[in-house]
């Protein structure tokens, strides 16, 4: 990551060009039925405090017991990040007072996390790729939620989230632009969703980012960083970085200094503002949680989980390129969601991969986007789209008719083959029928025939007339060949 930064990534200040340096801590809620240390369900929603056990409420004498499924999910994620899995890790207490933190401490992992160093390969829109280093991944408890809008004088606390397992995924400061940061989070989210270890739902807060931003003149040592807390959409991550970088550049160009602090991004105002300074930072008094033994497992356990992993996006993309002859770009689009990739493969199976990719990306994705639907909600199943591709390949319908057919299947449903038959959409390849139509047109338009012999581009007019006469069903290649022969055009 020490390669000189590309000039196009630099931010122009009033006096100099500046390089922005970004590192991220992603909090990803672990997909599991119950919480990290209690048997309470993790289900979203419900009335406040519906999903709270005695442990979550930190009643006297209650003890945490590690949830094995959360451990497996963290290991799977570590494997997906090509990271070192630590066979021994330790849970620590991070002590601070807050009403939605019932124990008065968060159980987290401080010195000995479950997952060590790894990396994520990130593709950028311009086709370039960067490798972002992962420093660590650790397991920790989520806090509850304080509700300040229920009463004029009191705050309320909802502990439904209290104790839900989070994975904190810490990147190295390897990102150099808001675009890279957005691409990194997008890719990380894709990997988590492939693994099934986090649903990546940022609207529900199941994936959120703390973004560390600093700026420096190219080649200089790292600047002082500010941490922007709890940014909850990929778009806001980009905006927060741009805003914060410009704020820091303005201070530095004015001869000022950056104070290390924690800041909040306000998307409404488009600004970041100070939350607490370094002096106000908590002393968390981390120490190993004496209620929990160190977490230990063996390599065989890790190997077993590795065997059960699905094919991950990087491998899938490479396979799509080599097995189906797709462009890297198309393959990248298809693997961004596991469901899209699966859909594509169902369409491509036994068919021309490129044709399948074209139909999935251009027609289906285009239409889904327009309607705001996800791939899971598509009204056109992979089988049916496959049948449409088959009908083109077999020469039964033309590409143009196929689009009409797609539209019918999209809005009305039904089996494409039956629709083609029932509605007479089959393209006419019977040369006799086409020839009759062609002869009729030639006979009716002697002047045009004469002109066409002088000016071969008039052929198009004849093709159009023939298609019109055959209701669009004539095979365009056959029409072309016949017309050329009859008009004597080469």
């Amino acid at each position: 990551m020490n390669a000189p930064v590309s000039p196009k990534k630099l931010i122009k200040g009033g006096l100099h060009d500046w390089e922005v340096v970004i590192g991220m801590e992603i909090h990803a809620q672990v997909t599991s039925r119950s919480k990290l240390f209690s048997g309470a369900p993790t289900a979203f929603g419900g009335e406040p405090n519906d999903h709270v056990s005695l442990v979550d409420a930190a009643m006297p004498g209650m003890l945490p017991v590690i949830n094995a499924e959360c451990v497996a999910q963290a290991v799977r994620t570590g494997l997906g990040l090509k990271a070192k899995i630590n066979l021994r890790s330790v849970f620590d207490r991070k002590n601070y007072f807050y009403p939605d933190l019932p124990q008065g401490y968060q159980i987290s992992q401080y010195k000995d996390p479950i997952v060590g160093e790894g990396e994520v390969l990130v593709d950028l829109p311009d086709g370039e790729s960067i490798t972002v280093g992962i420093e660590r991944l650790h397991l920790e408890q989520d806090a509850g939620k304080s509700l300040h809008d229920q009463s004029p004088n009191l705050s309320f606390v909802d502990l439904n989230r209290s104790g839900v397992a989070l994975m904190e995924i810490v990147s190295r400061p390897d990102l150099r632009s808001s675009e890279e940061a957005r691409a990194y989070v997008t890719k990380l989210r894709t990997i988590l969703r492939y693994l099934g270890t986090c649903d990546g739902d940022m609207e529900k807060g199941n994936l959120r980012a703390d973004v560390n931003v600093s700026v420096r003149r190219p080649g200089e040592p790292l600047g002082t960083r500010c941490e922007i807390k709890n940014v909850n959409s990929i778009r806001f991550i980009g905006q927060a970085i741009e805003t914060e970088a410009r704020r820091q550049i303005a201070i530095l160009e004015d001869g000022g200094r950056i104070e290390q602090e924690t800041r909040l991004f306000d998307p409404g105002k488009g600004e970041t503002r100070s939350m607490r300074s370094k002096e106000e930072a908590h002393d968390y008094r981390y120490f190993p949680d004496p209620d929990l033994l160190p977490l230990e497992f063996d390599q065989a356990y890790v190997d077993g989980l590795a065997e059960g992993l699905p094919e991950l996006p990087d491998a899938k993309k490479a396979r799509f390129v080599s097995a189906y002859g797709l462009s890297a770009y198309d393959a990248g689009v298809l693997v961004a969601e596991r469901a899209s990739a699966d859909y594509f493969e169902a369409v491509a199976k036994g068919r021309d991969g490129k044709a399948a990719a074209n139909w999935v990306i251009n027609e289906l994705f285009g239409r889904l986007n327009k309607e705001g639907l996800s791939i899971e909600e598509t009204p056109v199943s992979a089988d049916r789209l496959g049948a449409i591709v088959d009908l083109i390949g077999e020469g039964v319908i033309s590409g143009k008719i196929a689009k009409d057919l797609f539209e019918i299947v999209w809005s009305e449903g039904g089996d494409p083959r039956q629709i083609v038959e029932a509605r007479g959409m089959r393209q006419v390849t019977d040369t006799g029928a086409i020839e009759a139509a062609v002869d009729a047109i030639i006979a009716q338009n002697p002047d045009k025939v004469a002109q066409a012999r002088e000016k071969p581009t008039l052929l198009g007019w004849f093709v159009g007339q023939t298609m019109k006469a055959t209701g669009g069903k004539a095979n365009p290649a056959a029409v072309n060949a016949l017309l050329k022969a009859k008009l004597g055009i080469e």
Partner: protein, 493 residues
């Protein structure tokens, strides 16, 4: 006929079995006794109605020939164990009126085995103390008095209510907990037997936490046998406590008759502390002589890191306590004192809810864990802890089966005598007992004689991990040799 509450737990069990008396009669005798003993302040809460209901169930079980191991035996419960629907305070104002919706694992096991609950016993606030003077609900007065004196004495702590109630025959036995000596020191002060089992032998689930890596429940009773019977029911695996050992519970009572023939008993020279009263030394020598006469080999051993145990303990225990007690914030249960904002509410609640000693330990614990001091205090204390553990491991590896020491450096002292002194003087009470908690080992205190003023003195036996059986056998040998401790006269009744 002897008053029923004067019986030992084993005698009462046999009497119930023989139908010499009913569980109801046995319970009524105890209720009558504790009502007359309120001046001792041993019980924070008496639950006579519940006790009688439980006794009736027991009588029905006995009549049906379905008696369980502790059927109909009335016990007192240290108020650190959460009891379902029965107020549990931990001796603190901050939990005043707190009614748990769950039953601690240890008490659950006792009720499962048919025991009867007489009430909740006083203790030092959050089990922090060695005299029961830190209880928010008043000091427990020991049933013992110095010969010719009416000056009130402390029963020891933190399980002072448990020890006093057992010595005063206000229950057949009691639950207790021990973080640095809180079972063994009060047992020694009151002429009763108390065992802190190996860390992990009893589940901590549902017991209010003081210092999680040191806390362990155990019984106090009037004989070694009674302790063996009670521990057999209290102990056992519990998946809800990760630190609880997944081991079967041996038949402790069966181990009592094993004797000490062929055992090697270690006498650690480092326990001969400066300023130790001659009486204590004599008692210790006497204990060694009894065991030798009973067939044990006595061997002097060295536990070189002993002198660092107390200071290290007073770093580790407050560190854990400062974090464990953070949950008492007035938000969800217990005391709440309103404030100008949330921080004001925290400050007011905790200022009003915690007593001096608890506050002192929270401050010590917060300090030793804070940035810049963590390595100097907490990390070093943990290293010492490892060294202490290794000292014991080396002794056991060299063939020692159990270690004999005095239980306390003195007999019980007067109420108020040490309360205003340097807190370190109070902490020194634990000098012989904290090493055992730091190493997670089992330790038993057994009465061995009286001092010149007629007050009980106890000896301590320390065992290998999960070898409580050897401790019971050796403690039985001491009890047999010393003769059963005479009990204090009921001057309060």
């Amino acid at each position: 006929m002897t008053q029923l509450n004067e019986l030992t737990l084993a005698e009462a069990r046999d009497g119930l079995k023989a139908k010499d008396f009913s569980a109801r009669e046995l319970t009524e005798a105890h209720i009558a006794a504790l009502e007359k003993a309120r001046v001792l302040n041993a019980y924070l809460l008496e639950t006579p109605d519940r006790a009688l209901k439980m006794a009736e169930v027991s009588d029905a079980k006995i009549a049906a020939g379905e008696a369980r191991p502790l059927e109909g035996l009335p016990l007192g419960i240290k108020d650190l164990f959460c009891t379902h629907g029965v107020v549990t305070t931990a001796g603190s104002k901050i939990l005043e009126g707190f009614e748990p919706h769950y039953e601690s694992a240890v008490t659950h096991n006792l009720w499962r085995d048919g025991a009867v609950m007489l009430g909740k016993l006083n203790l030092d606030e959050f089990a922090m103390g060695s005299s029961n003077e830190t209880s928010a609900y008043g000091t427990v007065v020991s049933p013992w008095r110095r010969a010719g004196s009416e000056a009130p004495l402390v029963p020891g702590g933190s399980s002072g209510g448990s020890a006093a109630a057992v010595a005063a025959r206000l229950c057949l036995g009691a639950t207790a907990t021990d973080t640095g000596g809180s079972i063994r020191q009060p047992a020694a002060f009151t002429g009763t037997v108390g065992i802190k089992p190996t860390y992990g032998r009893c589940s901590r689930w549902g017991t209010v936490a003081f210092a999680s890596s040191l806390d362990q429940a155990g019984p106090i009773a009037r004989t070694v046998r009674d302790c063996a019977i009670l521990l057999g029911s209290m102990a056992g695996p519990d998946a809800r406590d990760t630190t609880c050992a997944d081991l079967p519970v041996p038949d402790f009572e069966a181990a009592l008759g094993r004797g000490v023939k062929g055992l090697t008993i270690g006498i650690p020279k480092e326990y001969r502390v400066e300023g130790m009263p001659a009486e204590i030394q004599r008692l210790w020598d006497q204990g060694a002589a009894w065991l030798r006469e009973a067939g044990a080999e006595i061997r002097e051993i060295s536990l070189p890191h002993t002198r660092y145990a107390l200071p290290a303990y007073y770093i580790v225990a407050p560190a854990e306590a400062s974090s464990n007690l953070a949950r008492y914030d007035g938000v969800r249960y217990g005391l709440r004192v309103p404030g100008r904002d949330i921080v004001g509410m925290y400050e007011n609640t905790r200022a009003a809810g915690f007593g001096r000693e608890v506050k002192r330990r929270i401050m010590i614990g917060t300090y030793v864990l804070s940035a810049g001091y963590y390595d100097a205090y907490y990390v070093r204390a943990q290293k010492i802890r490892t060294l202490i553990k290794r000292d014991f491991e080396a002794a056991y590896a060299a063939g020692v089966d159990a270690i004999l020491t005095p239980a306390t450096p003195s007999a019980a002292f007067g109420v108020g005598e040490k309360a205003s002194a340097d807190p370190v003087e109070m902490y020194l009470n634990d000098v012989f007992t904290v090493t055992v908690n730091m190493a997670g080992l089992p330790g038993i205190a057994v009465p061995a004689g009286l001092d010149a003023q007629g007050l009980p003195l106890g000896l301590q036996l320390i065992g290998r991990p999960f070898d409580e059986e050897t401790l019971f056998a050796a403690a039985q040998a001491i009890e047999d040799a010393a003769g059963r401790m005479s009990l204090p006269k009921a001057w309060w009744a």
